[in-house]
Symmetry: C2
Subunit: 209 residues, 2 copies
């Protein structure tokens, strides 16, 4: 497969295809037509065919798509065919919510450590993972070769923490702190700015036609 040929617009839609295909699998659906997928996803069948054509010969006239194959293939493109261990920095409500979120594991993401500055949270266990004091972070990252970190820290603490994490080996951040991290270009950052999302909601509500 020539991954280079897949356009960014298609890439952006992949997680949603992956989610729907996962649900079909859970419901023991072996195959589905572009029309069937279209009805569920509220996307036109031709859009779906066009998108999924990027992944080779999985759709067949009169048969449709083999759900399991397509799910696996899209998972590979998304890098979900391997286990992705990650750590959570910040064991407050949001950090605990992420650690409790079972949907991630289906996608290969596994919380292997939770860290906090607050000694009172240390020893607390979330889904079998113990909260550790932040002093142990550097050793933990190096020992377990961790590459991904979720940041659920106050915005004042996040920038310095992110820089430390990069120096200890972290290559990708899932950032919930309401601040833009200034990091080397090769570091991947996916921002989840909650307040900005709520503002977008507010804008759309205020200006809806």
């Amino acid at each position: 497969m020539l991954e280079k040929e897949i356009s960014p617009a298609v890439i952006k839609r992949l997680p949603r295809y992956y989610r729907y295909l996962g649900e079909l699998l859970e419901n023991h659906v072996d195959r589905i037509s572009s029309q069937g997928l279209s009805e569920r996803m509220q996307v036109t069948a031709s859009q779906i065919r066009q998108d999924l054509n990027n992944f080779g010969g999985f759709g067949q006239q009169g048969y449709g798509y083999n759900v399991e194959n397509l799910y696996k293939e899209i998972g590979k493109i998304l890098g979900l065919d391997q286990v992705n261990p990650f750590i959570i920095i910040g064991a407050g409500n949001l950090g605990q919510a992420l650690a409790n979120y079972q949907d991630f594991e289906k996608s290969g993401f596994q919380v292997v450590g939770i860290f906090d500055v607050n000694p009172r949270l240390v020893g607390l266990t979330v889904r079998g993972v113990e909260v550790r004091i932040i002093d142990e972070l550097e050793d933990f990252i190096k020992e377990h070769n961790i590459k991904i970190a979720a940041l659920t820290l106050p915005k004042m603490m996040a920038p310095q923490m992110a820089q430390d994490l990069v120096s200890w080996g972290i290559e990708a951040f899932w950032n919930f702190a309401p601040v833009d991290l200034q990091l080397p270009k090769e570091v991947v950052v996916e921002n989840m700015h909650l307040a900005e999302s709520l503002m977008t909601l507010s804008y759309n509500r205020t200006h809806k036609v």
Copy 2:
């Protein structure tokens, strides 16, 4: 001001401008040049000038932007010049994290109710707001004229709950359940699909150049 002239691309950047201007205000900065904003935001000064020109004569040659005016004006466009009371459905970790999140209040969003199906959570107080049993939801929405709801429910429960909420008067959803809500067109939905965001992170990490 002719709001119709503002392009969707500019709209999308507004929450970020609003956040940076809010930080300047907090730091008692009265005015800033497009160059100064550019250095902070990592956006070109010409892009900033072009974007902010949409909001009339706030920038002046040799003076820069009046931070407070611009902050207020963008806030108005975003619908933040009024108090936006909202409720949270689901009082688990994520619901509690949202209720605890102080940044929302600065933007006019105020959590006025938290609801859960679990009687054991009822009576718990998060930042002064008591968790109520879900049976009280309909009366509460009607009595307090609530229009915005955050959904932090399991995906099995979210679709039916969303439909009920619409019938009781909710017009806008901040949806954290990993499911696409099928609602009337006039209802505004802002999705926060956590797992999909993590997949995007994974893709960008796997395919980075």
